[in-house]
Symmetry: C2
Subunit: 85 residues, 2 copies
Amino acid sequence: MNALFKALNDPTRRAILELLREQPRTAGEIADHFQFSKPTISHHLDLLRQADLVSSDKQGQFVTYTLNMTVMDELLGWLLQFQKP
Amino acid sequence: MNALFKALNDPTRRAILELLREQPRTAGEIADHFQFSKPTISHHLDLLRQADLVSSDKQGQFVTYTLNMTVMDELLGWLLQFQKP
DNA sequence: TAGGTATTTAGACAAATATCTAACTATTTT
DNA sequence: AAAATAGTTAGATATTTGTCTAAATACCTA
């Protein structure tokens, strides 16, 4: 839960998630959407992976990142506990 | 949205929200549930207020904090955009 | 009015974070 | 085999964050 909120607490990482919502993308494609250096994006992807928000798959020299929704469901559950009964 | 995720990115602040889920409480009552100093808790409450997750109401020397769900709904909406159609 | 209680503000500090450049690893291409 | 491409790792640095103690503010009560 900590890693999840930590990962979500950054606008760039949230934008990456929204990018991946459309379709899986390679690290380079993701980096192209931002003005930060590739190492910076790589680091953001690492935090997203630690939170299990994305999974990565290496094919040759490319690493494809895919959105992983199951953890969002956990967040959803946490959220719903606040809903009035 | 930034203030919201920032506020949620701390276990103590999330615990405060869960405390307030049951009922409104004064700053002192909230502080009694944790081992941190009162100024520290006051600062956490300030961040929660900045994110509009709680509202505060001063009555005499007491300040009562109340959970504010409307912002959670915003988070819920953000979350649901990731749901498969 | 003096003293006590509730809370916040101010200032300091260590730890965590986001970013960069340089260097490295792994893979593909010529 | 050499060079190019994709991506990560390492190390540095400025900023942000969580915490504390001390001091200030506001209110209440004797």
